[in-house]
């Protein structure tokens, strides 16, 4: 089983998809929140961090297995997301978007450094939750963990898709994102819908946090910063506010990063992600799936 070029390429593809599915999960929360309240929720990456810690707590302290730990962290973060929205963002719903953005930055700093006060800056090791089993198909190696991760992401995204497309809540969400005032007039409780959106987005971020802990083995209070920003890049890449866009954007970004790493330029990985961000914003700010809109004069 010599490692040929094709094998290498496929290996990077597998790695890229694993990483990309995490980005996609985080990006979904960004994009849903943006779609509904037009806010870049800077704190979203830090919610993911809280999710990672909740999962870590459930696994190491409560000795739960992967799935209950995952659910526990999702529920915890859903609550956190709702609380953040009610306390920090709701009072600013009619303020300027810049005020909201600054608030989001504030919440982000609060979670990062508040987290540091609570659990110290020390890096924690995630316990191995999956067997070290590896499968090799034509020389391309799949770790057991990779497969669980991809599966988890796919199942969650499918659930989300179902929720948004076919449930009453999902329809109401789409209505609010389309026209908040009209939705209100149709008797939709927009406050509940917004809370619901934050809950779902934060739960997905929590899942991503647990997966991230499993994937990289270590967690720390500032772990949410860079992945959070990159998930935002993914959301912009796919077209912010568009749910399938976030999924595709996340996967694409994961692939691009693993290709850059595969070419031996891993220290430039983050720069490439941000460069893509700037290029997308300049060339097609509405993203791959978006439509251009302009202000009415």
């Amino acid at each position: 089983m010599g490692s040929s070029i094709t094998q290498q390429i496929f290996q990077q593809l597998v790695n890229g998809l694993s990483l990309g599915s995490i980005y996609a999960l985080i990006a979904l929360g960004y994009t849903m929140v943006y779609g509904i309240v037009k806010l870049i929720n800077f704190a979203h990456g830090d919610v993911m961090m809280v999710g990672a810690y909740s999962g870590w707590f459930a696994i190491t302290v409560l000795h739960w297995s992967f799935l209950p730990a995952l659910l526990f962290s999702m529920v915890a973060c859903a609550l956190l997301g709702v609380v953040i929205e009610r306390i920090a963002y709701k009072p600013l719903r009619n303020a300027s978007r810049i005020a909201a953005l600054i608030t989001a930055i504030g919440v982000s700093l609060f979670l990062e450094y508040g987290g540091m006060l609570l659990v110290t800056a020390q890096v924690r090791t995630y316990p191995p939750v999956f067997p070290e089993t590896m499968y090799s198909i034509h020389g391309v190696i799949f770790k057991y963990g990779d497969i669980v991760m991809l599966l988890t992401s796919v199942i969650l995204m499918a659930l989300l898709h179902f929720t948004v497309q076919y449930t009453k809540m999902g329809k109401a969400m789409r209505a609010v994102s389309f026209d908040k005032d009209a939705a209100l007039l149709m008797g939709i409780n927009t406050n509940n819908i917004i809370s619901f959106t934050f809950a779902i987005g934060s739960a997905l971020a929590a899942a991503a946090g647990v997966l991230m802990g499993v994937y990289f083995n270590t967690i720390d209070p500032l772990m949410g910063m860079i992945p959070g920003l990159k998930a935002f890049v993914a959301a912009v890449l796919g077209g912010i506010g568009i749910i399938p866009g976030a999924m595709v954007g996340g996967l694409m970004l994961g692939l691009i990063e693993s290709i850059v790493s595969g070419l031996g330029a891993s220290t430039w990985r983050d720069a490439v992600a941000f460069l893509i961000l700037i290029l997308v914003l300049i060339i097609k700010p509405s993203g791959l799936f978006g439509k251009n809109v302009r202000e009415k004069v």
Partner: protein, 317 residues
């Protein structure tokens, strides 16, 4: 009154000289402990950073959060000139500021047509790219950074700060500054009043970058060491907090914010986590209860001492 020799300017000049004299006196007479000298120079650096970011965010209304990137360029270029090439300090500072301004021009031209949060996120990305470039450049020491002699004195720092603030204030109180303000107020109306909005956004952005670069140069040539980590986006956020606290669009508010925040962080230096948590809570509370900051868009001035000239010339001071 057809030249600068009027009461308003003389009052300002006297104020600056007096402020310098008092602090210099405290230093010479050994009343001020050396620790505060470091804080003083930090205050000068942050005043330049806050004022220059205010020019972009508060005055022109273009939301940039990549200021640390411009500061990094100024710091590194000036350090290369003074420490590696052994050039004079003034040349180093100038080179750093010009390099930052060029970067501002380069980034500003394509990105400034983005609005609101898109611009914010693009500038944030730019700041990170700059940091990663220095991180990967062995010539400047990569992640470890490099050391250089500390040649900036308190007098240099104060002088550069005073000159920067006066130049930026002059800009704001002119027809060019008003053109920038009109963009913040209503971009479509500004354009229909004959204001070349793209040009003025780029001018404000480039000028802001220039002074951020200058601040970076002062930083590099004072603190012995520069590292890419210093210029991460937390630094950009900190500068943002200063101008938000002081009042977006108020030059004096930005100065006030820089002083308050630098002093607060010096006082809380022993507990850095608390410092950041307090910053965060402050930011959120501020946005909810007083989004206009301490000063709003108003300016604090000594003009009540020279009331007569106030209505003349620059009425928007």
């Amino acid at each position: 009154m057809r030249n600068w020799f009027n009461r308003q300017n003389i009052v300002s000049l006297l104020g600056i000289v007096l402020l310098y004299g008092v602090i210099q006196g405290l230093i010479v007479l050994d009343i001020m402990p050396p620790f505060y000298k470091l804080t003083l120079i930090q205050i000068c650096i942050y005043i330049i950073l806050a004022t220059s970011l205010n020019l972009i965010n508060g005055i022109t209304g273009q939301f940039s959060i990549g200021h640390a990137g411009f500061m990094a360029i100024g710091a590194y270029i000036s350090a290369i000139v003074t420490a590696i090439q052994h050039g004079p300090l003034a040349l180093g500072l100038l080179a750093g500021a010009i390099a930052a301004a060029l970067a501002g021009l380069l980034v500003g031209l394509p990105t400034l047509r983005l609005n609101g949060d898109y611009l914010a996120i693009a500038t944030l990305g730019f700041g990170e790219i700059v940091r990663i470039i220095f991180l990967n450049t062995d010539y400047v020491g990569g992640a470890a950074g490099f050391t250089l002699p500390s040649t900036i004195t308190w007098t240099w720092a104060f002088g550069l700060m005073a000159v920067s603030v006066v130049l930026m204030k002059n800009f704001v109180g002119s027809t060019h500054g008003r053109a920038c303000i009109s963009i913040r107020e209503n971009e479509i109306a500004a354009e229909s009043m004959g204001v070349n909005t793209t040009k003025y956004k780029v001018i404000a952005f480039t000028m802001g970058a220039f002074f951020a670069g200058l601040a970076g140069g002062i930083y590099a040539n004072y603190f012995y060491i520069i590292q890419p980590m210093t210029f991460n986006f937390i630094l950009s956020f900190n500068i943002l907090v200063m101008i938000v606290l002081g009042g977006l669009g108020s030059m004096t508010g930005g100065i006030l914010g820089a002083i308050v925040m630098t002093l607060a962080s010096a006082l809380l230096a022993g507990v850095p986590e608390w410092r950041n948590v307090i910053t965060a809570v402050l930011l959120v509370l501020m946005m909810i209860f007083r989004p206009t900051g301490i000063m709003g868009t108003k300016e604090f001035s000594l003009n009540f001492l020279g009331k007569k000239s106030e209505k003349n010339a620059a009425s928007k001071n």
